[in-house]
Subunit: 93 residues, 2 copies
């Protein structure tokens, strides 16, 4: 079994009101960042999942998003998996 790092990026759907994004937009305007046209704020959830393959890890993460992490009515999500490097397991320099 390998540990996979799966990142779930969860964003509000287009057209759905995003008060957090509007607040950030207002804050940026008051700091005189005038070139900003639009701001959307979402969540990124980084999961370390023990699985046999990348596909299995992604499949598990998809079930997690459907059941708990994302609200399918107002949010969309995308998933990317990477395998942490062996050095990440811990080494003494």
């Amino acid at each position: 079994m390998t540990i996979w790092r799966v990142e779930a990026m969860i964003m509000p759907k287009d057209g759905v009101n995003d008060p957090q994004g509007e607040a950030v937009h207002g804050g940026l305007k008051s700091l005189e960042f005038v070139g900003v046209q639009n701001v959307r704020v979402g969540k990124i959830i980084s999961l370390s999942i023990e699985a046999k393959s990348e596909d299995e890890a992604i499949d598990q993460a998809m079930h997690m998003c459907d059941q708990l992490l994302a609200n399918p009515v107002i949010e969309t999500y995308s998933l990317t998996a990477t395998q942490p490097s062996p050095a990440a397991k811990g080494s003494i320099a």
Copy 2:
């Protein structure tokens, strides 16, 4: 001037307490996702920035992160820029 979409991914630094991640981890355990080792929750802020070049858009976003979006004491951020496709400007099918 072109509109660039810059995504700022803001994550808590390693070692910094992440109560939101712990809560999600607990929720996944109670749903019997037993293969999850660790969960970290961060923010993703999608910015539409008017700029002459990709470098200028990234540079502006970096200033926004430093001044408002990220807390450099407990968070790290990474930036990626993409240019929205011309079709995204609107078309009638």
